[in-house]
Symmetry: C2
Subunit: 141 residues, 2 copies
């Protein structure tokens, strides 16, 4: 209920890590080991982030990822959409006919307004607000 996914968590940790690596590349294995994240799953998340232009990939040995954007211009809303698709508090989409309650449902549009406000809020939270804070010494190397 209203939970963020693990993928989002992993993405945030990875970006957090990269922001401390600065210019130098960070590879998937490294991040996975440090944070104890399943390698393959993290790999997918990072590939997604790369595809969406949040990070840049460097192929081959000594390869990995570097941040393409400053964490203070990436919003949590953007990140969520990049990884999970559009944010929907309500189940049914606009032209949805599959919902059995559609006929008599009067709560949908008011809930949409609430949804919109939450999305709006998430679009105004930047990633550096979530990352920066404190970082374990070992990571700052």
């Amino acid at each position: 209920m209203l939970k963020l996914t693990k993928k989002i968590d992993y993405a945030l940790m990875a970006i957090n890590f990269m922001s401390f690596k600065g210019e130098s590349v960070a590879n998937t294995r490294n991040i996975a080991e440090i944070y104890n994240i399943p390698l393959e799953l993290l790999a997918k998340v990072l590939q997604r982030l790369a595809k969406k232009g949040f990070i840049v990939s460097q192929n081959g040995p000594k390869g990995g990822y570097t941040l393409a954007k400053d964490p203070n211009v990436i919003t949590l809303g953007e990140l969520i959409r990049a990884i999970e698709g559009p944010i929907q508090i309500v189940h049914c989409t606009e032209g949805d006919t599959s919902c059995l309650q559609t006929a008599r449902c009067t709560i949908r549009s008011p809930l949409r307004k609430i949804e919109h406000k939450i999305v709006d809020f998430l679009d105004n939270v930047t990633i550096d607000q979530i990352c920066s804070e404190e970082v374990p010494e070992e990571l700052a190397v």
Copy 2:
């Protein structure tokens, strides 16, 4: 991802219905039929609402439920908590040791702040803001 559950939807519809019934009781079967909601599931939701004091149950034939509180003093946050338990955007709770990322995780507490803001928002949305609006003629009988 960040979705409300069907139970919440059903609860809102039921409360909406009851608020138009006013003093007269509304029974589960009736509501289920009108909105096309699985009877047993709706029954559970209503029992929960009764237990939490949002509605009052009347047993036996001609029984059913009536609102115990005005929709304008019930908040969406309260309703969600009554049915689904505490709202958690983040996975792990305070003393949680099961999360594998705990050791190096620095994003948890910032996310908690975000969670708190969302909960705060939901605690300021009253049910009548979601219900009232328009109601199909047939229901206003």
